[in-house]
């Protein structure tokens, strides 16, 4: 990974995927692009770990997949958030906020 890019914190990939899918249904490549764009290029997804994560989330019932036409008019597998996934995202968001705030406090204190 090049300069200016950050490694993903352990366990945050799932949360980022869920968050990305909260806006709209998307295919795998789109998800990786979106995360990269939104983070201003700081977060780059290791594509090798993206798909196993998607399969895992699907198996847990947090996201669902269906085939649809892509932006360039080809068949692609689109993932969308399920109701259970939305609840999971809310919980992970809360956890993340607590964690981020706590880390922030520690860093400011020193």
């Amino acid at each position: 990974m090049g300069k200016g890019k950050a490694d993903l914190l352990q366990g945050t990939l799932d949360m980022l995927i869920l968050k990305t899918l909260a806006l709209e249904a998307m295919h795998g490549w789109g998800i990786s692009q979106r995360i990269q764009q939104v983070s201003g290029g700081v977060l780059s997804i290791n594509q090798g770990s993206l798909y196993p994560a998607l399969y895992r989330l699907e198996a847990q019932g947090w996201i669902a997949a269906e085939w649809g036409a892509s932006e360039n008019n080809r068949q692609a597998k689109y993932y969308r958030l399920t109701r259970a996934g939305r609840r999971q995202l809310e919980e992970e968001t809360r956890n993340w906020e607590r964690l981020a705030a706590a880390i922030g406090q520690v860093m400011e204190a020193s």
Binding site: H27, G28, W29, Q33, N46, Q47, G48, S49, Y51, P52, A53, L54, Y55, R56, E58, A59, Q60, G61, W67, S70, N72, R74, Q75, A76, K77
Partner: protein, 886 residues
């Protein structure tokens, strides 16, 4: 929940489609990425390469995706199974050897387990059978451990106990049943009216006995056993209400028992106690010492057997006080209770536990062998495994693959083993029947199938895990080295060696067990029975005793019969006796220990009366079985009913009671001095109750003075069984109402008495032979592998001038060192375990040095051959080719 399960199982039938979709999805991703790269200005080729680069290993990702997806386990199991089948199909030799080895091991265990379960574990087929107990009384100081009960005693225990719901009695008799085409001897269980209610046995037809039907003067009624009803009466549905004559009275059939095994013995019919002439005689009922019956009870709900035991002991104490005559202090009378199930299987338990242990050891050896085979194969498959690991298979996945293969093998072995077990079961049932009436309950049912499945899976996991965990350490090394020379890791070599040592050690123990049994059997066969069993016919006579009310009538019957039999040209001599040596029925009843006194030797206070076995014979008996007269004279026709009462004794009795003194002319009494009987001669000792039994003290009385014999013996010049038909005709000529049963020869009786030790020897020998074979295959396998692995090294040695003999020695030394280590361990194990076998052995010490030596020699020879065969390939190695092959 259901959705989850459905999703988990979906891969099973949609595997192809899901793989296809995954493929399409990843392809889409790569194409999109490449397009993006082109948009940024890369050439199409560079764009595709960059997309691939940033993606990483596609196959690895796929594998991870499969793992991540729920149901991955199911799906990979399917893959593993398919792959496993393919691997095994491509190695038929290995698969066949492993399956056969396991089948023998699992089959042996299944068969023995089904016997153990049927006999020792399965609950009795009675309502709440665990509450049933056997009442026991004993007089240990007089040497009697199992004293039957008298009517008075039964009444006392029934009336006084506080722990039993009911107390019932049982004894068995044989009566003649008339009313059918031929007189038929039937075995009759004589029981209390509530016997079947207490046991909890409902009738299959009609009813069981009613209260009062065992009372004095009740009409005689009968219940037929299911087997007798089916076999002798063709399962006649109208049997209830029919009458048969027994003991000169009409007996009405009231019911048929269900098809369950009967305890304590199999009988043909059952009658209430009031119908048995012996049991209902006033003199018998009134005599506290007229003991004949077995007594059962049912514990009250929640009462432990220990409480009942204490209860009965208290009653026995009270009886001792109340009837000091019947229970003299010098006999030490006591009473207790034992659970019926334990009582019925007490004899079978040690034998079958030994067999189970043996079968378990055989399975262990089989497992070790298959584990070794798998290890050896694993070495050859190292490259395949390393390659798969490099392609993204996780360690867990590879182990799972190996376990799938081993479990497949074990299941195949289990299936085949089940067939082997089913085939050998009849033999085992016949064997078990010699120890317990429960043998009839042995069968292969759902539980046995479950057991087979369980041990198959366990052995599969067991011998699969061993190699699986050993290989991953060497995985990287294997990849680095490449080529087929991948050397075995030191850890794995040690594991293989340890397996071989263990196999040899266990084989040593099994062979020692079998060897001891063989030695013991040989000694048994050499035992001099004291008589000559060749060409002697034995026939059971069952006269209608109610026709022979006086001694004269019976005397007349057997004299007329003997006369006719002796007139046959092929008959050398004939006799009638109360029993004959090694008579199976006699063996099951045991000696008749009668008290007697010797004239001029009054018993000191507290001294138990001497006891001896007692039989009656006609004068021709000794000549017929060739039982030698040692001193004095044998019986003659002059020892008739009006002559002075005489007896013969055997050498054992003469030695015990008279020592150096001459017993001839001495007098003894069986009725405390009322009448005296003169000893007129001494005859040889006979193994009456088994070739492995001590000779008991014996009295012989002349048939004329004590007519009670119902066995006819005839020594013939030809094959004795050819005489049977003639004798049967002669019996019916003399008395058409006498049933002829149990046609045997003395030689058969002798052979039969050794059937149990012979079968046990056969089984242990079979198991040990199996173990030896498997172990030899194991040793040969290890050496063969060593040779193929060290071909290169041996080539170098030979190129440097080592002779063929020296490299052969090198390989042999390796194999024999393992064998010797195993022998040492096995010797220790055999010495530790031998004691368990002591009760099975006759005249052989469990640590018999000859057996141990022979087993050591046998194992060494087998190990040497097992090493030599594959090691010889060493001498065929061409140094040049071996070196070039690298």
């Amino acid at each position: 929940m259901w959705r989850r399960v459905a999703r988990g199982l979906r891969p099973l039938w949609r595997r192809g489609r899901m793989e296809h979709e995954m493929e399409a999805e990843l392809r889409f991703h790569l194409e999109r990425e490449a397009e993006e790269n082109i948009r940024r200005g890369m050439s199409p080729e560079a764009a595709r390469a960059a997309a691939r680069r940033s993606f990483g290993g596609v196959d690895q990702v796929k594998e991870e995706c499969r793992d991540a997806r729920g149901g991955g386990l199911v799906e990979t199991l399917g893959q593993d199974l398919r792959f496993g089948f393919r691997v095994l199909r491509h190695n038929p030799g290995f698969a066949l050897l492993a399956t056969l080895t396991l089948a023998l091991g699992i089959g042996a265990n299944t068969a023995i387990f089904s016997v153990i379960y049927g006999v020792l574990v399965r609950p009795l087929p009675y309502h709440e059978g665990e509450r049933l107990v056997v009442l026991k009384q004993r007089t240990p100081l007089a040497g009697v451990e199992e004293l039957p009960f008298s009517v008075k005693e039964i009444e006392d225990y029934r009336g006084r106990n506080r722990t039993l719901e009911g107390v019932v009695e049982y004894h068995t008799m044989t009566f003649l049943l008339l009313g059918r085409a031929e007189p038929e001897r039937v075995r009759v269980g004589v029981v209390s009216a509530n016997f079947f209610d207490l046991l909890g046995v409902p009738p299959a037809l009609g009813r069981t006995f009613r209260a009062g039907e065992d009372g004095h003067g009740a009409e005689p009624v009968l219940i037929l056993s299911h087997r007798y009803w089916r076999e002798s009466h063709g399962g006649d549905p109208g049997i209830v209400g029919r009458t048969f004559r027994m003991n000169d009275r009409a007996h009405t059939v009231v019911g048929v028992l269900p098809a369950i095994p009967q305890y304590p013995q199999e009988n043909d019919v059952y009658m209430p106690v009031s119908a048995c002439p012996t049991r209902s005689a006033a003199g018998f009922i009134g005599d506290r010492r007229a003991r004949m019956m077995t007594v059962f009870g049912r514990l009250k709900p929640g009462v432990p057997v220990t409480q009942a035991q204490a209860d009965l002991a208290t009653i026995a104490g009270a009886l001792r006080q109340e009837y000091p005559d019947a229970y003299p202090a010098r006999h030490g009378y006591g009473a207790t209770a034992a659970p019926l199930r334990e009582e019925l299987t007490r004899q079978a338990r040690p034998t079958f536990l030994i067999l189970l242990g043996t079968a378990g050891l055989v399975l262990l050896i089989a497992c070790a062998n298959v584990a070794n085979l798998m290890l050896a194969r694993l070495m050859r498959r190292e490259r395949e495994m390393a390659l798969r690991a490099a392609l993204g298979a996780s360690r867990g996945r590879l182990i799972r693959q190996l376990l799938t293969e081993s479990t497949l093998l074990a299941l195949a072995g289990g299936g085949l083993g089940l067939l082997i077990a089913a085939g050998g079961l009849d033999l085992l049932v016949a064997f078990a029947a010699r120890f317990t009436t429960r043998a009839g309950e042995i069968r292969i049912d759902a539980l046995i199938l479950l057991f087979t499945l369980a041990i198959s899976v366990f052995t599969g996991l067991g011998f699969g895990l061993m190699p699986a965990f050993s290989f991953e350490r060497d995985l990287l090394a294997a990849l680095k080295e490449g080529g087929s020379r991948a050397t075995a890791g030191a850890g794995r070599r040690r594991l293989r060696d340890a397996l071989i040592v263990a196999q040899v050690a266990v084989s040593f123990m099994l062979l020692t067990g079998a060897g001891l049994m063989i030695r013991s059997l040989l000694k048994l066969q050499q035992v001099d029975p004291g008589f000559n069993p060749e060409k002697v016919l034995t026939i059971g006579l069952n006269p209608n005793w109610s026709k022979y009310r006086t001694r004269e009538q019976y005397r007349d019957f057997y004299r007329r019969l003997l006369e006719r039999v002796e007139r046959q040209p092929e008959v050398l001599s004939a006799a009638v006796g109360s029993t004959y040596p090694l008579n199976p029925e006699g063996i099951s009843f045991g000696p008749w220990n009668r008290n007697y006194v010797i004239e001029g030797r009054p018993l000191a206070d507290g001294e138990p009366a001497p006891q001896a076995d007692f039989r009656t014979v006609s004068p021709g008996y000794f000549g017929t079985i060739r039982l030698p007269l040692i001193r004095g004279r044998a019986f003659t026709e002059q020892d008739h009913e009006d002559a002075p009462e005489v007896a013969l004794i055997n050498q054992a009795l003469a030695r015990h009671r008279w020592g150096e003194e001459d017993p001839i002319g001495k007098r003894v009494s069986f009725n405390r001095g009322e009448t005296w009987i003169t000893v007129v001669g001494v005859v040889g000792d006979v193994k009456q109750y088994g070739l492995n039994r001590e000779v008991t003290d014996e009295f012989y009385r002349p048939m004329a003075q004590f007519p009670s014999g119902n066995n006819l013996l005839a020594r013939t010049t030809a094959d004795p069984s050819s005489l049977a038909r003639t004798v049967r005709r002669l019996v019916h000529e003399v008395d058409p109402e006498t049933a002829v049963t149990d046609v045997h020869t003395l030689e058969e009786a002798r052979r039969d008495s050794l059937a149990s030790p012979r079968l046990m020897t056969l089984l242990l020998g079979l198991f040990a032979g199996l173990a030896l074979l498997i172990t030899a295959a194991g040793i040969a396998g290890v050496i063969a592998l060593t040779v193929s692995q060290r071909t290169h090294e041996i080539g170098i040695r030979m190129a440097l001038g080592a002779t063929r003999a020296s490299v052969l020695g090198l390989v042999m030394r390796q194999g024999l060192a393992l064998a010797v280590a195993g022998l040492g361990l096995g010797l220790l194990g055999a010495l530790a375990l031998a004691r368990l076998m002591a009760h099975l052995l006759f005249d052989v010490e469990p640590t018999d040095p000859l057996t141990l030596l022979a087993v050591t020699a046998l194992l060494l020879v087998v190990a040497t051959i097992a090493c030599l065969v594959p090691a010889q390939r060493v001498t065929g190695i061409d140094p040049l080719r071996a070196l070039r092959a690298e």
